[in-house]
Symmetry: C2
Subunit: 352 residues, 2 copies
């Protein structure tokens, strides 16, 4: 319709009021006399004015009223990965409630990511640091906007981050199984270091670059220790959280002379793959083998049997992250949130 776009100034002139008043009509209607307000509004309507341009408003007012969620992944990651989805769903809930916009920022390619972060119109960032967190943090810092890192695999305390209690959670998971009577365990781990798959040794794990996985392993060890199970005897297989590597891990664990009666999976994704694999092999879950996951993604509650897992409080994480970014109250040091055991059908006492 309207060719040369109508500006607030045009409306003001046409209505015979000052620009200041015209502005007030839209952004603080209460301050202008009803009569005048109606008249300006009417004029605006007649001219086809689309309302105050966000661009102009933005410049003056400063706040975009939107936050960006960033990851070193293709954009589709946000819709494909169960953990990311669960988190984003929670973040969007919070944003919804506070009338904040949500922008998705990501790219697998560093250069593009750089540009995307530089040009995202947001007031701050939530960083999904599952992978490539360092890069992400660095890029974001340059932007000089508030940000908070989630699932950061780095214990650099100068990075404002919110993470879950991986060590404590893993300990609870292991204790749960041990208390049910299990004594023969197998661990399917998420990455300890880049591009490595296969059985992982103790020394290797202790100096793993990915702290998430390392802490979960430490948690398992610590809890099992109390039941007299020494870490040297606990088989740990490192996967990359995908089907082939998980199945390779299962082959490895179940080809042992005394196969495990319980699987400690470092992610729900791994746990779910595990249950499928066991089923296909004719093993019953939890009768023959118990499985416990980690994360608490919704999918875990929708399968049969339900997945016992350590649930991250997504809502709480999202709440704090959004608050931190919006109010520029980033945690000065890493903040930690607890996880809670959700017992569903995938764990039970071992067979006699």
């Amino acid at each position: 319709m309207a060719k040369g776009t109508i500006r607030l100034a045009d409306v003001a002139k046409a209505a015979g009021v000052s620009q200041g008043t015209a502005s007030n009509v839209f952004s603080r209607p209460d301050v202008v006399r009803e009569e005048v307000r109606e008249h300006v509004l009417e004029t605006a309507r007649r001219l086809g004015y689309a309302g105050p341009s966000l661009k102009g408003r933005l410049l003056r007012a400063g706040k975009v009223n939107a936050i960006g969620v960033a990851a070193v992944e293709p954009l589709a990651y946000f819709f494909d990965d169960p953990w990311a989805r669960a988190l984003l769903a929670a973040v969007s809930q919070v944003c919804d409630a506070s009338g904040t916009g949500l922008a998705l920022v990501s790219a697998k390619d560093r250069h593009k990511l750089d540009w995307n972060i530089k040009s995202a119109l947001v007031d701050g960032f939530i960083l999904l640091c599952v992978e490539g967190g360092e890069k992400l943090v660095q890029l974001t810092r340059e932007r000089q906007l508030p940000f908070v890192a989630l699932a950061l695999n780095d214990e650099d305390s100068s990075i404002p981050s919110i993470s879950v209690d991986n060590l404590g959670g893993a300990a609870v998971a292991a204790r749960h199984l041990a208390e049910l009577g299990h004594r023969r365990f197998g661990v399917l781990a998420t990455e300890f270091s880049d591009d490595h798959v296969g059985p992982a040794g103790i020394a290797e794990i202790e100096r793993a670059i990915y702290s998430t996985s390392r802490n979960r392993a430490l948690g398992y060890w610590q809890a099992l220790d109390a039941f007299g199970i020494r870490r040297e005897t606990l088989p740990i297989y490192e996967t990359i959280n995908d089907k082939p590597s998980v199945e390779a891990g299962l082959e490895y664990l179940f080809s042992a002379p005394e196969p495990p009666t319980a699987i400690l999976a470092m992610s729900d994704n791994i746990a779910l793959l595990t249950i499928n694999w066991l089923r296909a092999r004719g093993l019953s879950v939890p009768r023959d083998v118990s499985v416990i996951g980690f994360d608490g993604v919704p999918e875990g509650g929708m399968v049969e049997p339900g997945l016992t897992t350590m649930a991250q409080p997504f809502a709480e994480i999202a709440q704090r992250a959004v608050q931190a970014v919006l109010h520029d109250s980033m945690p000065t040091e890493g903040e930690m949130i607890g996880v809670s055991l959700i017992v569903r059908g995938s764990t039970a006492a071992p067979k006699q």
Copy 2:
């Protein structure tokens, strides 16, 4: 760090060049002499300048370089609903490739939605009109930005929209089953009108407000007609695409004296629920009952047996939609895209 933010003007002054030159250093580096450029850059670095503020740039340059995807749903919808997810994954792919940002805009509540749409910093919108499309289109129009409606349930040709060939696709689906030899069908429909669940009559369907469902029904009728199956004899049960209503529909269809050997589901979601229900009843798919879906969501390929379905070309839809919005080349009238039959394990010839 830097308290009072540094502006381009500050850098220019500190470097002893004009603001114009300083601007060029950042946005058209090639035009300024290397020596000067280096000096300005160095000065900027020293001052802790974060680069040209997007806000200022935006005002002058005009383009946000981002599109908004909007729906009349809670924000979490984008991460929960399989169809929305599949579509968004495709849209993000396209955006990724063209360096365009993606903003999620939604709210179940009309007032909030209004505000969210008004205040989204985007160059245009893609509207997910599965539900409440009319409202959405109306709100978006006020914003005077390019937009394109997807899955619009309204045949108003003045609305720029991209939709799939529901009638043709449904016909192909029905023909596929008929050609396999099926003669006893049951239809599980998506909504024909608001808040109605239960068996749907012909007259009712013909004047249904949701054109998507209506056209799919018409497609089924048309194809089956060619096989001598009259529409009066085809049981159609209207669901709201959720578990309870689908199961009620199945109870209805299978309590008939001659239960169907093939189910025509108007969405993959319904089809997937159907397969689960049949399984739980001890009926084998496809041996006892064939099931065909509609949409082609990824989940359909990940279950056992795989779901036969009419696949929407998500990538193509996304491509066109993004192009249309970005280049303001909205289809002047509704544009239609074909769907294609994907045969997987859930359909087969009926038992003798």
